[in-house]
């Protein structure tokens, strides 16, 4: 494999983490902040899958292949399934907060989120 590719998924994962942090920092809309958080999370998917991948390995489903066959890592996939659930529900919870905050204060800008200061 060409050397450039050896760390590509990890670099992409790091880049996505950076993008998520950037979106959160500069967000001007609470929903935008929540979506940035979802992008930040997808960084962990990339990292985990990049780690577990194996060139030439098949999916770890042994319906028509024998158990001795070379497969990609099933553990990272199980961890990611877990991770995806977390993503969906945390986003739902955060959005509920955004909706409620909008109904109470009439604004979706993080700059107006500052009743508490100092």
């Amino acid at each position: 494999m060409p050397h450039v590719l050896a760390s590509l998924p990890y670099f992409v994962a790091g880049w996505l983490f950076f993008c998520g942090l950037y979106g959160l920092t500069t967000s001007r809309h609470l929903v935008h902040a929540v979506i940035s958080l979802a992008v930040l999370q997808s960084s962990t998917y990339m990292l985990l899958l990049g780690i577990g991948y194996r060139t030439g390995g098949t999916a770890p489903v042994f319906v028509d292949i024998s158990p001795g066959r070379l497969t990609v890592d099933p553990v990272v996939q199980a961890l990611m399934l877990t991770d995806i659930v977390v993503e969906a529900v945390v986003v739902a919870l955060l959005l509920a907060m955004v909706v409620k905050a909008y109904e109470k204060s009439g604004s979706v800008s993080p700059s107006d989120l500052r009743t508490l200061r100092g």
């Binding site: 993008c19 001007r28 809309h29 979506i35 992008v39 399934l81 995806i84 909706v99």
Partner: protein, 91 residues
Amino acid sequence: MIWFGAILLLLVAISGFAVVCTRDVTSQVIALSFYGLLMALTFFFFQAPDVALSQITVGAVALPLMVMLAISRMKFRKAHMPDSSSGEEHD
């Protein structure tokens, strides 16, 4: 084959940045949905059908759906409660 994966990964990197940089929330939802699909495609390439299946259902459908629902609830409120948009003044 590996180059195909590399191109997919680069596409994911670019579209992830695009999602974050889209400032209009409604178009961001569309971008997020596209991003979710691209992710699912990458997962198929990575030989992870289980994860790809949940990524399609969650990342490309349920997640954008929830954002849309939240936005439409806020819009609904705004349309029907003109007084709520003025809200309280916060310093």
